[in-house]
Point group: C2
């Protein structure tokens, strides 16, 4: 176990803001980050792979994990379960590695209850118009679902106050650079590092 | 006046840790930062220019500024005054620009009283041995002064707890990159930006 425990970063934000795209780009740039893969009961979208993008599970399987308290958080969203496996997160943090969760706003609020020491990043759309177009262009939703998702998104934006940071997703590259800065900066926070620095100098006192 | 007020960053740390070198490198990389030049009564070192590195002033002049409450902070350190002109800092923050102060630990503690919303960064030596060598190699101090400065440095390190961030100055480039990350990250803090984002979306509600 390293001296410094890893930091749990939670990337969240309204539906359609581009969480998945930002997360993928972040992990391409920073292979040292550990990504916590969620379980979900929703159908895989084109190109999504089981065990890489999500663990795609049946409804009964996820319900069993919930009953056994094996998820840090779970949420039902537009009729499907999304959840985060607890064991993997704890083990990785204990090894001194940072863990990144990319989850829906409902789920992030539950992580906040269980991991108040986590760092909560809210991905923000440049405008509601952009958000609407992104949801429509995804092309996987009916018109009713688009309106539904937009109303959800508006509610989710109102939950921004529970987050530590707000990052605008105007351009993926810029959003990723801001998140990388937050990761570096959090590792320089005095309350995280002061003890180990003072210990390192302790044997050298004049 | 811009929507977002500028942020006051305070770079401090023990004598000999390399504050001046890190600050110069930071400003070469990031010309958008405004550097607040300090007044001092100490003699210029080789290469230091009046009005650029410091405002070099006579003891009586600085005492007059203190009496007129024209300094955010001032400190007497190894027999000399160091101080930060108040007017420049307030004006620049109001224009929405960030201000960077590079000051001694005593001075930083006074800024903390006047500007609790400032972001306080403590530059940390990789080891006391390195700190000692840096003070000696500066070649401007007698042996007594070196020991004096080292003892001061030890006391100053004990004041780290009053800071927001601790940045190790193992290599100038790395320290500068960490400070740049802190600047970006602080601008993403939810409590700073939430209001303006919600305002921007306000007219678009569904």
């Amino acid at each position: 176990m390293k001296d410094e425990r890893g930091i749990l970063f939670i990337l969240s934000g309204p539906s359609g803001v581009g969480k998945g795209t930002v997360r993928k780009s972040l992990f391409e740039k920073d292979p040292a980050l550990e990504y916590s893969i969620s379980v979900t009961t929703r159908e895989p979208r084109e190109g999504e792979r089981n065990g890489i993008d999500y663990f795609f599970k049946k409804r009964e399987e996820v319900q069993k994990m919930i009953e056994a308290d094996e998820l840090i958080e779970y949420a039902e969203y537009v009729g499907n379960y999304y959840g985060t496996p607890k064991e993997y997160v704890e083990k990785t943090l204990d090894e001194g590695k940072d863990v990144f969760l990319e989850i829906e706003v409902q789920g992030a609020m539950k992580v906040r209850e269980n991991f108040p020491e986590g760092v909560f990043i809210f991905l923000f759309p440049p405008s509601l118009e952009v958000l609407k177009n992104r949801i429509i262009n995804r092309g996987t939703e009916t018109e009713d679902l688009v309106l539904n998702r937009l109303k959800e998104a508006q509610k989710e934006i109102d939950m921004m106050d529970a987050y530590d940071y707000v990052v605008v997703n105007d351009e993926v590259e810029k959003a990723v650079a801001r998140i990388q800065s937050i990761v570096v900066s959090e590792h320089c926070k005095r309350e995280r590092v002061a003890k180990q620095y003072q210990k390192a100098l302790g044997s050298e006192r004049i």
